[in-house]
Symmetry: D2
Subunit: 172 residues, 4 copies
């Protein structure tokens, strides 16, 4: 009865959802750049973008994006049942499910990704701030944490790569 969904279909859906919800990948790469440039002065934006694209290939992050965007969208359309609808719309600090869902895909990139997530979730730099502030009919309760997760995962991945490259240059 249930069909098996090919990962290429999931990937395409993820890209479409991010575009529809107003999150250009460049804005995520900008955050990765800002987080990692203190550790590597000659860091280039393309490398950050490459890292964003790489983490977006991961199944569990893709699924978290689909679930999070779905819940935000259903809240906007008032389709969620009460009291969940009011809780999601209020985006209150003690809700927790938004961070939990996003965090699952961050763990994979080491503890540096985890602390970066925590930092971004509190400081809300770049597009994360815009998403958080945008009110009106928009609901970004899950999306802002999702963006934190993508950026944190990409930053964590990058930190490990940079170290690997340093070691190769030093000669191994």
């Amino acid at each position: 009865m249930s069909r098996k969904v090919h990962s290429s279909e999931v990937y395409q859906a993820v890209m479409n959802k991010l575009t529809e919800r107003g999150v250009p990948l460049e804005a995520i790469a900008d955050i990765v750049y800002e987080m990692q440039v203190p550790y590597k002065a000659d860091l280039r934006k393309e490398v950050c973008m490459e890292s964003v694209l790489a983490v977006l290939e991961k199944r569990e992050l893709q699924h978290a994006i689909l679930v999070g965007v779905e819940l935000d969208t259903l809240a906007e359309k008032n389709i969620l049942s009460e009291p969940l609808l009011s809780i999601v719309k209020a985006d209150e600090g003690l809700f927790g499910c938004d961070e939990t869902l996003a965090l699952g895909s961050v763990f994979g990139y080491g503890s540096i990704a985890l602390t970066t997530f925590g930092y971004l979730d509190k400081q809300k730099i770049g597009i994360i701030k815009s998403l958080d502030n945008e009110g009106g009919e928009h609901c970004h309760t899950f999306l802002d944490d999702i963006v934190c997760a993508i950026a944190a995962a990409a930053a964590g991945r990058l930190a490990h790569r940079i170290r690997d490259e340093d070691e190769e240059v030093d000669g191994s």
Copy 2:
């Protein structure tokens, strides 16, 4: 624009949802009993039930229950968008969001709760098995992990309580 939801309303909604979805608290207490009786031969069912009720007071577990049940229900009604709808209905092993959402509320009860969650998620004892097998129009992709989480949290809480009591008896 968004109203503040009182925790008593959330608690009531959680209790209703569990009943509606066919999960009596007794069935969860039975799992807790089965998991903890090897460590305490004179364990009583009431103590297990008490522990189930205690973890259900926790905000983040309550929220995870509401979100998980909502997604299952929306999948049953074909309201989720594709490809998420097919992924949730298929309940495939690599989805991940169901375990991630449930796990968030388990961490709070120590690593014993975490390993119990992993064990229950694989072994699917008692009502977890029934939920997993029930096919047809029912979708329990999130609910079975939610029940694992409630039972694991209650078992972890109990393990710590039992140790506390042992120490008091020994004299402290």
Copy 3:
């Protein structure tokens, strides 16, 4: 052959270790205050201290403190074997075990505690900064993350308490 250690002995050892390693509980309460006062203008320091003391009652946090301080101390005495000794002494960003060990006890206080941990680990405010900067013969690789964990757990606990009190005042 192995003796059962009473939790009062563990608690006392934890308090002694924190004092020996130069971490007054007041300094941790100060961090909790700084993190939570933006959400509650009339927050009092005593309430923060009370929350610090409450999380220090938790078994898994106590154990993490003992393990972390032990590893720092053994590194200072050059008793750890290589290459672990050099890795711990260097306190390099990609080590990971220091954050992992500390994080285990933070999960219990909700996702707000988790993001606070990530923030503190990056921003290093108050005594966390002093510990991180202190060089010479001192090794605080694990201790700074441990302090982040205690503060984050206490802040998370406090956030939930404050919400509970607000609801009681509103009338429930």
Copy 4:
């Protein structure tokens, strides 16, 4: 003052420690096989071994192995301070730091790795059981969880790979 340790030195140390502590990689591959063969009848042992070797390349898992083995060894030599020494030697269920340290490296392989870890930690199959039972002067408090983590990570990695291959065969 602190030297930078090259990852090849860390890798070599990890391999030596596992051998010294009586954990042949084949025994870990056997556990991976047992966990994954129900999902793929024609699974070969070499593929399991390949997955074990792949996860052992990961920095954070390597560090966790070094830290865990160090603590076990120091406990055997009675070098840890009290009460930590007695707690580690007793390997009591509520210690928690052993699972926490090991878990950090499991998260990276998806929620399937996490539930596999929980299952292995409770069921203790193969060499995990031998390590757990071996008493006398041996202390394996951390090592058995470390082996659970390596096996769970390798099993999780394998599950994702198998799905990727299935999709390629189906034509993508």
